[in-house]
Assembly symmetry: C3
Homo-oligomer: 332 residues x 3
């Protein structure tokens, strides 16, 4: 949790934190546990609350070292020796989401009255939140919005109607018109009421010499950061989801879409409208041609195409076979 962007409202006693939630609390002894933070199960420590659910829950439960861990009934027994108290919940992630909202609060914009920027060209109508830092030589186009605590390096060019929140940006970056950095990622937890948005308390981190095209969106991480490496260039209308890691010197053409938690190496090229589902790895120097849609990892240096994408040679073989198969038979 980055204090430049979020306020920590804790600690709370466990009972306060669980107030109103449909969670089975064992009698007496645990009520006065003090909970400092909420964290994912692999990062939570002895004063934290966490949750375990979904794919790999058994293993995650065994490894969880949180003071308190929300679990479904069938996973409660798997909470390991290192872990603390398992609390049974019908909707562990939804309850955890409510708790996140109780522990952390995004800082407000304030009135910006104390912001002092030296050698920064700020367009008319720009709104800047309290505590933002902007480096010398940077230009911000009219009507853009820079959130509280945002850090922008030197000699950057921020276009018009840009929104940047929860972000730390290096030097010599260009963020073009209408781009949005730091929006909440898309994550929905099942709850008794239907779906519940999972709070995102992470950030976006951009290195140096990065270009972000018009209308491109880069979501902040759920925890931790969404990262883009030095020298990477993104065209217009691209969507980069929460927790994605993109290496250095990548080139992504228009309308590319990267779903959550993908891990993309250095020097990767993606043609127009290529897209990745979540948790896909793409190795250094790989290339996805336009419209490519891999559904498994793409090894370094390979060129892939198609939906679902395969190595391009395989795609060409398939296309050739289909063409041959479809060829009208000459009448004899």
């Amino acid at each position: 949790m980055d204090k430049r962007f979020y306020k920590h409202l804790g600690p709370f006693s466990l009972l306060e934190l669980l107030d109103g939630l449909d969670v089975d609390i064992p009698e007496g002894q645990f009520c006065d546990i003090s909970i400092e933070n909420a964290a994912p199960s692999d990062l939570a420590g002895a004063s934290d609350i966490s949750f375990v659910d979904g794919k790999g829950a058994t293993r995650k439960a065994a490894d969880c070292r949180a003071a308190v861990c929300l679990v479904s009934a069938q996973n409660a027994e798997h909470i390991g020796k290192a872990g603390g108290l398992p609390l049974v919940s019908k909707y562990p992630q939804a309850d955890f989401s409510v708790i996140l909202g109780r522990l952390y609060k995004a800082l407000g914009y304030g009135d910006g009255a104390n912001n002092i920027f030296k050698d920064v060209d700020i367009g008319r109508g720009v709104v800047i939140g309290d505590g933002a830092q902007i480096g010398a030589g940077t230009r911000i186009g009219p009507n853009s919005v820079i959130g509280p605590g945002v850090v922008i390096g030197e000699n950057c060019e921020i276009g018009s109607n840009v929104v940047i929140e929860f972000s730390v940006i290096g030097n010599n970056c260009k963020i073009y018109h209408g781009a949005v950095l730091g929006g909440a990622g898309f994550g929905v937890a099942k709850s008794a009421m239907g779906g519940m948005d999972i709070p995102h308390i992470g950030i976006v981190e951009l290195g140096n010499d990065i270009t972000v095209g018009c209308q491109t969106t880069i979501d902040r991480a759920m925890f931790g950061s969404t990262n883009i490496g030095d020298g990477t260039k993104l065209d217009n209308g691209i969507q980069i989801a929460h927790n994605v890691k993109i290496g250095r010197n990548c080139l992504f053409a228009g309308h590319v879409g990267i779903a959550g938690s993908c891990n993309i190496g250095d020097g990767v090229i993606m043609g127009g409208r290529a897209g990745l589902p979540d948790h896909i790895n793409v190795g250094d120097g790989a290339m996805l041609v336009a419209n490519a849609g891999p559904i498994r990892d793409v090894p370094a240096g390979e060129v892939w195409g198609g939906q679902p994408a395969t190595p391009i040679r395989e795609q060409l073989r398939q296309l050739s076979a289909i063409r041959k198969l479809a060829k009208p038979k000459p009448k004899s």
Copy 2:
């Protein structure tokens, strides 16, 4: 026609309304008909003008109960007994579009001086039109634009640089940065001058607990409303066209596109960049995988993929067959 958003400029005499249009007006008797409203042929009543053209024109003409109906020459004879005067036009929809522009006018922003909002957190640079209503506990990010007459419920979170016009939004909704609600739908009528934009005098209606991602666009209806049901969550960069109906608790991933007048049930899941052409129905609980592009209705509960999309089992069979076919023959 919703008076919160549009001003009714009628009634007009038929002659006034048709002034300058290339329409054959029968002599004398009809000039002093007074026309109150313009409406689609299935909704128009005894004081209205309508038009009939395109697919199903013969049936529509027979059913039309408008006082006056613009029709092409070959459809004039089909205007039924219930209907009024058929007026022959070379371009019935284009002429009807001109008439819409004469009968209805969107309300202006005014200066917002009389807007009073209680317990609403309005960011710097926000512009709000006259007559907008915003519920307690709602927050609006900097530089967003809320059109005249817009209704936003309680405890909503509106991001920065959002545009909301011609919309009625429930409680606990989140509309993220750069989203646009209530833009004119995309509809073009053939005219003597080429294409003419068809005026859209409908609205957008959102239920409760809805999330709309960054840069997502939801167009208002031509007539009536574009609807999204309670609990539906839309990711970034999605396009929802005019007159679409989306049910409750749907989940749409990034870059999904829904063309005009689609009808989508409850609990429908659409993967990244799945898309629907116009007038497609998707049943409750159906799932479209990433990149799926159905060209016919998708039954409830089914999982579809591919372009054109089919049930996923059929897709997998096709992929398997193609792979086998394309496999290089071992040299004997």
Copy 3:
């Protein structure tokens, strides 16, 4: 270079212009050449600097009439008799990009104090740069940004949160909410430091009666202009890259993407999410169905579909053949 939008900072002596660049300068005689402009190799004249690299470099070198031409070592000898001095560079386009930045500078917004518009309805929060011209009867929605020197014709409707820079727009156009016209195109030159953004010193030119949907982006040209012809209608979320030429009365549905330098005729229809890679020609009256992705030119009047796209009849044959091939064999 259009003086309404850019300031010419030259002429410079060759030595000034090359200062700090890793270019082999032949001794003595050329240092005091005065360079007026930088231009592409086919347009550069006797007082200009240019570069030659990449595909077709040999031919381009032979035809180049620039006073000075940056070339890679292997192309230096091809500089023709008509041409001037070849200067050997490891990264001709990157060095040329640096030079562009030294010769031309975009005009700033200024304070707009001298802008006088007659009969223009300007919304609250709109920012307009110095020297912009806006015709009578035009309406600009709240919080939009109109760059310095921009020309907008009469009776246009500009939405809210729109950004228009480096653009000349005709009469009766509609530019809907969140659209961005005139952003820098996406072009990256290889340099010693990785990729370098290529400056774009061109413009966007729109004819009359054009509609640009919400969130649609139209990039300005590298040199010259990106053009859209009279009566063309673009839906939401479309991306039009630099130097694209689109004819009259085209209809593009949502999420269409057109890569750089495509040339599209009159009356072309593109379904949702159809896309073109760069330098593709599409003839008059051609139609691309939804999701179509041609990788070669599309002849006038033809209907194409698929990825890669083919004439629709061929697509249907292929689909039919695949279906037949994948059909489960009845057990005998």
